[in-house]
């Protein structure tokens, strides 16, 4: 099977900057920083894959490697089935890159002039350039201000233009690096919706998204990889990741006529990891019961059956997932701590 992106044992080291005194003491010593340490990944076509990690984790280095902007020290990677070592041009024809760096445009030119320039570099004829720009502007609803100078744009508009540039050659794979880094919540939400709905769902593109925003990763990514200090620490869907961190599912129920006996009876079930209750501050006749269940699919019906059998009336039942923030912290603590 050909994956959209596949990496095998990617390693990248950068030379470490040394002080003059260190150079004087050991002039020939070469010190390096490991940015990527044996990265293995497989991304399927049409997938929205997120690479999640703190600043300096190696996300941008990985994207640069996959875009053939830098070469690894060891390992191999294929993008659209092409090797990053031997088929650089074929890769460049099939990918788009969107960076969160808003300075990557010519500020004294209009948005359209910027797009025209970068589109020409994709070996398109003048008529193709015009058609493609209009098509992308329409997709991203950018037509209105595209003839204004770039430096007059809002941050959200600049980010949309970066997305337009990434899409200008109609790539099958889009690399997006921190797309909502400096956006307000509304603009960030718009970009996420655009990526998820228009590019992945409608157009079937593969998106490789680097972010340190947990909420963003959870909202839009099909699968995630957590990276820290150049190592992939965990890989899977957000729910798979939760399971690796915690086997417990948390439920909060609002009930009437809950008794101590009922609670004790439920506590005896070995699938109940934790149970507690308290009166609802807004309505003292209602109790709030919190249970954490192992194997919740079979345990929850039993809990509900016990409650109903022993006379409690269930007013509400909510399921709370482990926040991705906790998953991230736990994964980094467990695996990152060993490095």
């Amino acid at each position: 099977m050909v994956y959209a992106i596949e990496t095998l044992g990617l390693i990248k080291r950068f030379p470490r900057r040394r002080k003059l005194s260190q150079i004087a003491r050991h002039p020939l010593r070469r010190e390096t920083i490991t940015a990527l340490s044996g990265v293995d990944l497989r991304v399927e076509e049409g997938e929205l894959f997120g690479i999640l990690g703190p600043n300096g984790a190696g996300k941008t280095t990985l994207i640069k490697l996959l875009c053939t902007l830098i070469l690894p020290d060891a390992g191999e990677a294929w993008v659209s089935g092409y090797s990053i070592f031997h088929e650089e041009e074929s890769i460049k024809r099939s990918i788009g890159l969107v960076t969160g760096e808003e300075r990557s445009f010519y500020w004294r030119l209009s948005g359209r002039a910027n797009l025209e320039f970068f589109t020409t570099l994709h070996n398109m004829s003048s008529s193709q350039v015009r058609k493609r720009i209009n098509k992308v502007l329409e997709t991203l609803e950018l037509q209105e201000k595209v003839d204004d100078l770039f430096h007059t744009y809002s941050t959200g508009m600049k980010q949309k233009l970066a997305l337009a540039r990434g899409l200008i050659n109609n790539p099958q794979i889009l690399f997006i690096d921190e797309p909502t880094k400096s956006l307000d919540p509304v603009a960030a939400q718009n970009i996420r919706k655009l990526v998820r709905e228009r590019l992945v769902k409608e157009q079937g593109k593969t998106v490789f998204l680097a972010t340190h925003n947990l909420e963003e990763a959870e909202q839009i990514c099909d699968r995630l990889a957590i990276i820290d200090r150049g190592k992939i620490l965990s890989l899977g869907t957000p729910s798979e990741m939760r399971t690796t961190v915690s086997k417990e599912d948390r439920y909060v129920l609002k009930l009437r006529a809950l008794t101590d006996e009922t609670v004790e009876k439920i506590r005896k079930d070995n699938k109940v990891a934790h149970i507690s209750y308290r009166p609802d501050p807004a309505n003292p006749s209602v109790s709030i019961l919190e249970v954490r269940l192992l194997e919740h699919e079979s345990a929850l019906p039993l809990v509900i059956e016990t409650l109903v059998t022993l006379g409690a009336s269930i007013l509400d039942c909510s399921h709370f997932e482990v926040p991705l923030e906790d998953v991230f912290a736990e994964v980094v603590k467990r695996k990152g701590g060993n490095t």
């Binding site: 640069k64 902007l69 990557s104």
Partner: protein, 222 residues
Amino acid sequence: MWQKIVAFIKRDFSITASYRLSFFFQFFGILFFVVTFYFIAKLFGKAAVPYLASYGGDYFSFVLIGIAFSDYLGVGLSSFAGTIRQGQMLGTLEAMLVTPTRVHTIVLFSSIWQFLLTSVRVLAYILLGVFFFGVNMTRPNIPAALLILILTILAFSSLGIISASFIMVFKRGDPLNWVMGSFSTLFGGVLFPITILPDWLQKISYFLPITYSLRAMRHALL
């Protein structure tokens, strides 16, 4: 290819023209230079003739060609490195490198505008000299001058590309640009003929491409 050349020129022209005041002062500076050296030449009078006999004996004509064409050295040395450095600073370099256009095309085409602009400046120097300050170019060998110009640009550009490689690796601090720029001004015969230098210093001049370029250009034009 032509479409890309036009795209690069259009980009750089639009950016340069958007800084109107700087664009205007660039040409105003030429006038100041020409006037300054016109009066320095008057001060020397006939005293410089023995050194300049093979160039027609006029210091003003000599120095005008020197200053005008040494601009090509500056651009040849700095434009490639400057293009890369500017791209790194603006963040546009990666956006260009991720396209199927090859690196050498990006670097070469990014410098075309600088060479065009330099050619306009050189023309301004010569026209000012000829029409307002009495520079004698009655029998210029234009085909020879163009050939010398092309060879000059090629020679200077090769140094410039080496200089750009320093920028790619070290980001700043390009030693070749500094050495070639400083040595060429002092020993390349830009402001005075190299025959005025002691013999042992003249040996340095023979290692600099600008020495040959300016000598040939003066013989072609004066």
